[in-house]
């Protein structure tokens, strides 16, 4: 489909005019289903636009939605956009999270992003009003339960979002973080619409497609593939809660079976999770034959995870050709490549030693310990160019590993209020992804990462954030903590691992300290700590300048655990 370069609200209102009674979203939450027609979706959003306008929110100001998955979140997000404000979705406060850490993280974000409004469920809105350090700098804290019933309906002709310039900002996509590392990727209407035009072409997406998604909307994969793309192009979206999915992964499969779902995006760990954690009784009677693409995206893709998923679900109708792959990043709105749509995902069998030691992907014969399988991420979208650069910035030939850099017509406008971060991420119009990989026969293969970032179950986590949390635990020698990612084969994802120097002055009993550290990570972040090693002052490897060397400590721990780097 082709979308003329205008604004997202215009596209939404076109759909509102032509097919108001079409089902836009089926919310499958709390074991029930609610269908939202295009009219209901837009009307709910207009309610929020009216409330935000009444609260004094002006076009161009940032509105942050801190809401659980559900109609209110969709309405609030679209409503802010209709008004010409810049919406962004961030995680809401769950039972597990430490409220104080949550507020600290929000305060840190507010100091950079300077939002004009926060929208949260009533209890959280109350807490934020009274307890956020930066509360007075936010114009409005809106509670989601008080729809503007007494407000006169908004005159759509006055909505700035319908008249905005295509290059004005449509939304911010935030990365998580507690130590000021979080960056809001600012995206224009034009960039998003160009991404949707290129990506729908690569997918062959039509309005008869049905997307089933449990992905959180505060990550790019959920926001674009699991919300904006279907809602703007007319494909039906069946939206599930990530929390319900985590404790009952078969809910997604049931939704695919009942609705005839055709597309889904999953992080790699979800393939392992579905393959190994679903009892037979939950699969009996399911028909997954409608699924034309199950797209692995957002963390390193593992061939074995595909095999596990496929062999578990083929008896229930999963097509052999359904497995697909995608390389995506918020800085490009979403997808950079797509594979596995017209033909099966390519697996590149290469010599392991050449790959690790020489940075070259040399095709190898048999499947043994000397070879490794790299899963193709597919070809770049029609509007994206991918190159591989050596450390000194020169383009590398095919099958040589280097940093992947990207150029497209749908890139970020910048990191919001962070010109420093924008400048260091771009070089002569190319975005430096920080990912390592190679090109072969027109396809992109990802082999690792240049930066410290960990990807845990599809979530981007900076080790510095986890180190910060551990540093606060009494009994830990402050500053003597190192965190890094270790791949867990049975889970199909990275786990954060930590080496922590014990403060000799405190001498807490080791296991109590271990539990306290795990609890600090669990309640202060989105992830659970994996391997943890408590050490004395002799263990940690330092650089000549006395800094703790992340890579060297990771290798040392791996050697102790008897694993390869």
């Amino acid at each position: 489909m082709s979308l003329p370069a205008r604004t997202l609200p215009q596209v939404m209102f076109d759909r509102y005019r032509t097919s108001p009674e079409q089902t836009a979203v089926v919310l499958r939450l709390n074991e029930g289903e609610t269908a939202l027609t295009v009219r209901q979706l837009v009307d709910g959003a207009l309610g929020y636009a009216a409330r935000l306008r009444q609260a004094g929110i002006a076009p161009g100001e940032v509105v942050i939605a801190l809401l659980p998955p559900g109609a209110e979140l969709l309405h609030a997000f679209l409503g802010a956009m209709f008004l010409g404000a810049i919406p962004s979705i961030l995680p809401f406060l769950t039972e597990k999270l430490d409220p104080q850490r949550y507020r600290e993280s929000l305060d840190s974000l507010i100091s950079v992003t300077r939002p004009a409004a926060l929208i949260a469920e009533p209890d959280l809105a109350d807490v934020l009003r009274t307890q956020l350090a930066h509360a007075s700098e936010v114009k409005a804290m809106l509670a989601s339960d008080a729809p503007g019933v007494d407000l006169p309906p908004i005159d759509t002709a006055t909505l700035e979002g319908l008249r905005a310039a295509p290059d004005s900002l449509a939304l911010l996509q935030h990365s998580s973080g507690t130590t000021g590392l979080q960056k809001g990727v600012a995206l224009s209407h034009r960039a998003i619409l160009r991404q949707l035009a290129a990506y729908t072409l690569a997918l062959g997406l039509t309005p008869s497609d049905i997307i089933v998604s449990w992905l959180p909307l505060y990550h790019d994969m959920g926001l674009i593939a699991g919300f904006l793309m279907p809602v703007l192009t007319g494909a039906k979206l069946v939206l599930l809660s990530p929390f319900e999915w985590a404790r009952a992964p078969w809910t997604m499969l049931r939704a695919v079976s009942e609705h005839g779902g055709t597309l889904a995006w999953l992080p790699n760990f979800a393939y392992n999770f579905c393959a190994t954690r679903i009892p037979d009784r939950e699969l009996n009677g399911l028909d997954l034959s409608s699924w034309r693409a199950v797209i692995n995206c957002s963390e390193p893709m593992v061939a074995e995870s595909h095999r596990l998923f496929s062999s578990r679900l083929r008896p229930f109708g999963l097509s052999e050709t359904a497995l697909a792959t995608c390389y995506a990043m918020a800085e490009n709105v979403f997808a950079v490549t797509q594979g596995g749509i017209d033909r099966p995902v390519r697996l590149d069998r290469v010599d392991r030693e050449m790959l690790v030691k020489q940075g070259r992907a040399v095709p190898a014969g048999g499947a043994d310990r000397r070879t490794t399988e790299v899963v193709s991420a597919g070809e770049p979208l029609a509007n994206c160019e991918v190159r591989v650069l050596s450390p000194d910035g020169t383009p590398l030939p095919q099958r040589q590993i280097g940093e992947l850099v990207l150029r497209s017509d749908c890139m970020l406008t910048g990191y919001f209020n962070r010109p420093d971060a924008t400048a260091s991420a771009l070089r002569e119009g190319w975005y430096l992804t920080g990912d390592l990989g190679y090109l072969a026969e027109g396809e992109v293969f990802i082999t690792g990462r240049k930066k410290d970032l960990m990807i845990v179950g599809g979530k981007n986590i900076y080790p510095q954030d986890i180190e910060y949390l551990i540093n606060q635990v009494p009994g830990v020698h402050p500053g003597r903590v190192v965190v890094f990612g270790l791949f867990n084969e049975s889970m199909g994802t990275e786990e954060p691992a930590a080496v922590v120097e014990v403060d000799p002055a405190v001498r807490l009993e080791a296991n109590r300290l271990g539990l306290a550290i795990r609890e600090a990570v669990a309640t202060g972040s989105e992830v659970t700590l994996g391997p943890l090693k408590l050490v004395d002052e002799r263990w940690l490897v330092k650089t000549s300048s006395g800094k703790i060397a992340r890579g060297a400590n990771r290798e040392k721990l791996l050697a102790e655990l008897g694993r390869e780097a």
Binding site: E31, E95, K96, L97, F243, A246, R247, A248, P249, F273, R277, P279, G457, M491, N511, G514, L515, R518, E519, A522, T523, T528, P531, L532
Partner: protein, 81 residues
């Protein structure tokens, strides 16, 4: 310590907490603190069903049903045949 508690201890120690099994405090909150996360919980429920013969429904995998080892042991014992 009963058999059920011992098996649960062993399981939680090895799979979630990574500490010796006899050092998990009976009253340590596990779910509300995130020490046992939602992905662990699915595994835990499968372990309880296949190894201990008690069924815990996925809708019950939350701190309102059980949060500590003591509460979990009581729940499983109550449901064992």
């Amino acid at each position: 310590m009963g058999h059920t508690e011992a098996r649960l201890r062993e399981y939680l120690a090895a799979n979630c907490l990574h500490i010796p099994s006899d050092e998990i405090p009976l009253d340590q909150p596990l779910l509300s603190t995130g020490l046992v996360d939602s992905f662990h919980l699915v595994d835990l429920a499968m372990f309880i069903e296949t190894e201990l013969g008690a069924r815990i429904d996925d809708t019950e995998l939350n701190p309102r049903t059980f949060d500590t080892l003591a509460q979990l042991t009581a729940l499983v014992e109550q449901r064992q045949p």
